[in-house]
Structure formats: structure tokens, C-alpha cells
């Protein structure tokens, strides 16, 4: 009997009455079915990648892709999920990078402590930047964030006694674990990046798949309706700003230690737009998209070096074509799979349905 009911539920749960449009659905079903095996293969590939690659330069680019994936995941919480477009996220990256670098250069703090400090400072600034969302929305908010990014850059440039002004911060120490320095050369930096990317991705996933994430998406879809659901709009918007700022500070700190040198121009407006482009290209409101977006947009300038300055023309053309034919981003599709219910909930539902059947 339960077998039969299970069968009915299984067939019903594949979205009844809706024709499943081809390839995308098949890919989704495939990845969902074999997600464990695919995950293991991907993990193994990522672990052995530096040995296969071997090349210092390629590895540095890979680490840079990882750092930008973290930044994109940070902005994605704010722009992709909550629907607030920020044009000044380089500001948070700068705060993270400067706080962490200055602490480790001047006070000798280790990477993890200084990064944490950078995240805390960025988080606090995130609250401050989030406060205008009480009154300002849409384009106007974007302009405020644009101003914010410039202000941070100006502070970094002019507060010479602390930030060393336009000369920047040099010789940023590499992170150490058990006294072993992690560099690109000994693959340590790569694995550190990998660990931080995984950590960030898991964190984002946990946030998104909770009432917090649902509240973010509700705010993006319809603020008025969200208010009427009892969602504290201002509170959640500020929370989105804080989460986003902290993640970007983490990415900034990682970036600073990879490159080993930062100055105010490392965090100009181009960085803000680059992060935003990654989010849009990869697929707003998806986490998977951030990796693809970062990989394409960071690797592209390196791959197309032979085109010299013309590569920026091509870069622009790609984005335009993208906007025309796939505005939702490369991996920005709505899932065609049924909403995931865990076994406990499924059992409960089956019980209710069985009772209903008996009642008939």
C-alpha cells in the first residue's frame, strides 16, 4: 500500500500538467541524480588541479578566480537575492584588504585574525551603508553605494598616516599554518583559497535556504507584500548589507595576501563593476553562477592578451550579446525540479495523504 502511494507521489511530484522543456530539465535531473558522484569527481579534480597545472602563472590566475568568486558570492547576497544593486562593493573589499594587511604588516597579526578583524570592520561599515535603505531604494541606492566606494578609495588615498596613502601597503605576509608559509609556489595559497571558497559557498547556501534567504527574495520580489507578511524590511536589508560586506572583506583580505601589495587604485570603480558583471553574467540569485562568472571574466583578460587593448572591446561585445540572448545569466535558470522535501517531511505528508485516502 505504501509502495503504491509512494509511486503516486513520485509521479505527481514531477510538476503535473507541465511539459518539461528539454535539455535544461534533463541536465538538472541528471546532476540531481548523480550529484554525489559528480561532487566527488569535482572535489578530486579541484584537489589535484595544482599538480596537473604546475605552472605558477596559471595557478595565480586560478587563485584570483577563487578570490573573485568569493567577492561575487558576497555581492550576490545583496544584489542577486535581496535585489539591491551596489556599485561600490570595491569599498568593502578595500576595507577588508586594508584592515587585514595593515594588521599583519604593522602588528604582526596572523592571516586569520587580521581577516576576521577586516570582516568585522566591513560588517560595521555595512550597517552604516545599509541605513539609507530605510528611505532610499532602487537607482538612488546604487548611487549612494557608488559614492561609498569612492569615499573609501579617497580615505585610503589621503589618510596617509595609517594607510600609507598612494604608496600603498607593501610586503603583505603570506598566511602561515603550523609555521608553514602558504604561497602559490607550494600550492598552499591555492588550497587556502579553495577552503575559503567552499566555506563561503556553504555559508551562503545555509543563509539562502532559510527564512532569512526567503525574506531576502521576498524583498526583491515585492517590498510592499513582504511588509504585509510581517518581514522587517529594514532589518533584513541591513543584514544583507552586513553579510555581503563581510564576505567581500574576506575576499579582499585573500586577494591582498595573494598579490602581496595593495594601493588605493587596486580598489577602484572597475573592481566594483567587475564584481557586478560576474554576478550578472553568472546568474543573479544563484550560487553556482558565481564560479562560472568569475572563471570567465577573470580568465578572459589573461587568455586574450594577444588581442592587446582590443580585448576590452571584445569584453564589451560579449557582455552585450549576453544581455541580449541570456539576460538571466549563464547559469541563471529557475529550477524545473520539484521543491526539495526531506525524508521526514515526506513521511509526514505521506501519512496525511494516507489518512485522507482512508477518509474517502
Amino acid at each position: 500500500m505504501t509502495e503504491r502511494i509512494k509511486k503516486i507521489i513520485d509521479t505527481e511530484s514531477i510538476l503535473p500538467g507541465k511539459s518539461q522543456s528539454g535539455m535544461l530539465h534533463n541536465i538538472e535531473v541528471f546532476t540531481d541524480r548523480y550529484k554525489f558522484i559528480l561532487g566527488v569527481i569535482l572535489a578530486a579534480a579541484l584537489v589535484v588541479l595544482p599538480f596537473v597545472m604546475g605552472d605558477q602563472y596559471l595557478l595565480t590566475v586560478t587563485v584570483k578566480i577563487g578570490a573573485y568568486a568569493i567577492l561575487a558570492m558576497g555581492l550576490n547576497i545583496l544584489t542577486g537575492y535581496t535585489g539591491l544593486v551596489s556599485l561600490g562593493h570595491a569599498g568593502f573589499v578595500a576595507i577588508g584588504a586594508y584592515t587585514a594587511s595593515l594588521l599583519s604588516v604593522n602588528a604582526g597579526a596572523d592571516f586569520f585574525t587580521s581577516t576576521l578583524a577586516g570582516m568585522v570592520v566591513a560588517g560595521l561599515v555595512g550597517v552604516l551603508l545599509g541605513l539609507p535603505t530605510l528611505k532610499v531604494t532602487g537607482t538612488y541606492l546604487s548611487i549612494i553605494t557608488l559614492g561609498f566606494g569612492e569615499i573609501i578609495k579617497m580615505i585610503a588615498m589621503n589618510w596617509s598616516s595609517v594607510t600609507n596613502g598612494t604608496l600603498g601597503v607593501k610586503n603583505i605576509p603570506k598566511p602561515e599554518i603550523f609555521g608553514i608559509e602558504m604561497t602559490v609556489g607550494n600550492y598552499g595559497m591555492y588550497y587556502l583559497m579553495l577552503a575559503l571558497v567552499v566555506l563561503t559557498a556553504v555559508f551562503c547556501l545555509m543563509v539562502v535556504r532559510s527564512k532569512t534567504g526567503r525574506a531576502f527574495q521576498a524583498i526583491r520580489a515585492d517590498e510592499m507584500a513582504s511588509t504585509m507578511m510581517g518581514i522587517n524590511i529594514t532589518g533584513y536589508k541591513i543584514l544583507a548589507f552586513v553579510i555581503s560586506a563581510c564576505i567581500c572583506a574576506l575576499g579582499g583580505s585573500l586577494y591582498a595576501t595573494v598579490i602581496g601589495y595593495i594601493d588605493p587604485n587596486t580598489f577602484n570603480f572597475d573592481v566594483s563593476t567587475l564584481i557586478l558583471s560576474i554576478v550578472i553574467l553568472g546568474g543573479m540569485g544563484t550560487i553556482r553562477g558565481m564560479f562560472v562568472g568569475a572563471a570567465i571574466l577573470i580568465a578572459f583578460p589573461e587568455v586574450s592578451r594577444f588581442l592587446m587593448e582590443y580585448r576590452f572591446v571584445l569584453y564589451g561585445v560579449i557582455l552585450v550579446i549576453m544581455m541580449r540572448f541570456r539576460p538571466q545569466g549563464i547559469l541563471g535558470w529557475k529550477s524545473t525540479l520539484p521543491y526539495k522535501l526531506n525524508s521526514k517531511v515526506r513521511a509526514e505528508i505521506e501519512k496525511i495523504e494516507a489518512e485522507e485516502k482512508e477518509g474517502d
Partner: protein, 272 residues
């Protein structure tokens, strides 16, 4: 004026919402002028009036979107005027909108889960670390939401995106989402707007079903066949002022109401 002195005779019913002489001014314009409404538990009460009469403004005051300039709103014995929307939802009032406002790029089940937001009891850190409390709460709410969808007859659409539902189901979903907040009083702002006769007949059956389930409904509606058929009581507002209240039969024959609707000298365009 005599109308106001008349006491509600039926004391067997429990008073759920009592709106006393609320007034709202926008600059020099008095959008709502001394409107009073009483809603008993389990009733379906309608507010009608020509376009621009101030009905939606009343709703916006009830839900905390607008501040009340004068008067009181008492819900379950507690004054709720000028409270934040969040507190009003928590107190047990929820609403739908004149033009459907669903979270259209989210699934049906997610829409209703967002409705259950204030009842979902865990904090941010509990969700990040996936504690026992988080899992318990999420599972519990999912089951509750699916049960609710089943009772409303939308469960077969659970996995669909809200924007893909037919119009009538979108209305139903919006009402379901309002119910999911745990509300006792549901405010419906023109639920039958844009519906064909068959759809509005279905809607009527649905509202009756809700009434039987014990929900109390206060609605704004233009479709007279709906209003006259399911209302226990009707309030008529014109130019922000209350002009009549009573049973459907009384309202249908009230000369003031007929004048407001048919013979009105003033004619405002646009709602609100």
C-alpha cells in the same frame, strides 16, 4: 446620525475588530472621515463605495501602512492604530492587494512559507549552523504549509512558480499566503477584480469555505453579486464618509447608496 446610535443587538458574537471614527488627511484632502467599522468573529464584512471613496485607505490604516490621524482601531481588545505593519501581522491581521502582489519568481510553496515567516521561530545563527531547532522548525512549517495548501486545493501546484498560475489560483495563493501568517482577520482588497463570472463564483465558494473554517473576513469589493451573496454586513463609504451600514438587503434598497452609485453629482476618477 441616527444610524450610529443603533446598538449592535447580537451580543452572542465576539467582537474582533472595532474601528472607531478613524480619519486620514492627505494635506487638505480628507481621504477618510470618521469611519467606524465593527467586525465580529466569523463574519464576512464588506466595504463598498464608488472609486476614490477611501476604501483602500482604510485598509492601509488597518495594516499600518498609513498613520491614523484621529480615531482608534481596536483588534482583540488591543489598540493597534499606528503600530508597525509587523506588529499588526503578529497581532493577527493580514491582507491581500487590489492588484495581485505575489512573489512571482518564487514557487507556490515558497510564497506560502514566506507567509509563515513570523511563525518560523529560529534565529540567523541557528540557520547557519543548521541546529536541531532550525531543522525542527523548518520541517514543521513545511508540513503546515503543505497541509494548508491541501485544504485550499492548491497542493497540486506546490512546485509551480507563482507567475505560472492562472489568475484565479493566483488570487487563491495570495489569500493562502495571508492565512499562513496565522491571521484571524483577513483583509481582501477587491478579490474579484478582473474575474469572469465563473471565476468570481469560484471565489465566492472559496470565501464561504474560509468562513466555515473559522476565518473572519473584511473585504473591499465592487462586484455586487459577490458582495450581496456572501456578506453578513456591509459598510458603504463615499468621499471618505460613511453613508450607510447594514445587511445586504438593507443596503441594496438604501436610497443614499443608490444615489452614491448611480446619481452622484461628484464623480471622482481613479481609486484611492
Amino acid at each position: 446620525m441616527k444610524l450610529k446610535k443603533r446598538k449592535v443587538i447580537d451580543v452572542s458574537k465576539e467582537l474582533l475588530l472595532e474601528v472607531n471614527n478613524i480619519t486620514k488627511r492627505f494635506g487638505g484632502i480628507v481621504a477618510v472621515d470618521n469611519v467606524s467599522i465593527k467586525v465580529n468573529k466569523g463574519e464576512v464584512v464588506s466595504i463598498i463605495g464608488p472609486n476614490g471613496a477611501g476604501k483602500t485607505t482604510v485598509f492601509n490604516m488597518l495594516t499600518g501602512v498609513y498613520e491614523v490621524d484621529a480615531g482608534t482601531i481596536v483588534f482583540k481588545g488591543e489598540e493597534i492604530q499606528n503600530k508597525k505593519p509587523k506588529h499588526i501581522v503578529e497581532a493577527g491581521i493580514s491582507r491581500t492587494f487590489q492588484n495581485i502582489r505575489l512573489f512571482s519568481d518564487l514557487r507556490v510553496i515558497e510564497n506560502v512559507l514566506i507567509g509563515a515567516h513570523i511563525k518560523t521561530d529560529y534565529n540567523f545563527f541557528q540557520s547557519v549552523f543548521r541546529t536541531k531547532k532550525f531543522r525542527q522548525q523548518e520541517d514543521e512549517k513545511l508540513v503546515e504549509v503543505i497541509k494548508l495548501l491541501k485544504s485550499i486545493g492548491l497542493d497540486h501546484r506546490r512546485d509551480d512558480y507563482a507567475s505560472n498560475l492562472p489568475y484565479g489560483d493566483q488570487r487563491k495563493l495570495e489569500i493562502t499566503r495571508a492565512i499562513a501568517t496565522g491571521a484571524e482577520l483577513i483583509l481582501l482588497d477587491e478579490p474579484a477584480a478582473g474575474m469572469n463570472p465563473q471565476e468570481s463564483a469560484e471565489l465566492m465558494a472559496f470565501i464561504r469555505h474560509l468562513k466555515n473554517e473559522g476565518y473572519t473576513i473584511l473585504m473591499i469589493e465592487h462586484d455586487m453579486s459577490v458582495v450581496m451573496n456572501i456578506s453578513d454586513k456591509i459598510y458603504v463609504i463615499d468621499h471618505g464618509k460613511p453613508i450607510a451600514e447594514g445587511l445586504p438587503a438593507e443596503i441594496a434598497n438604501n436610497p443614499k447608496v443608490i444615489e452614491a452609485y448611480l446619481g452622484g453629482v461628484h464623480n471622482d476618477a481613479g481609486d484611492k
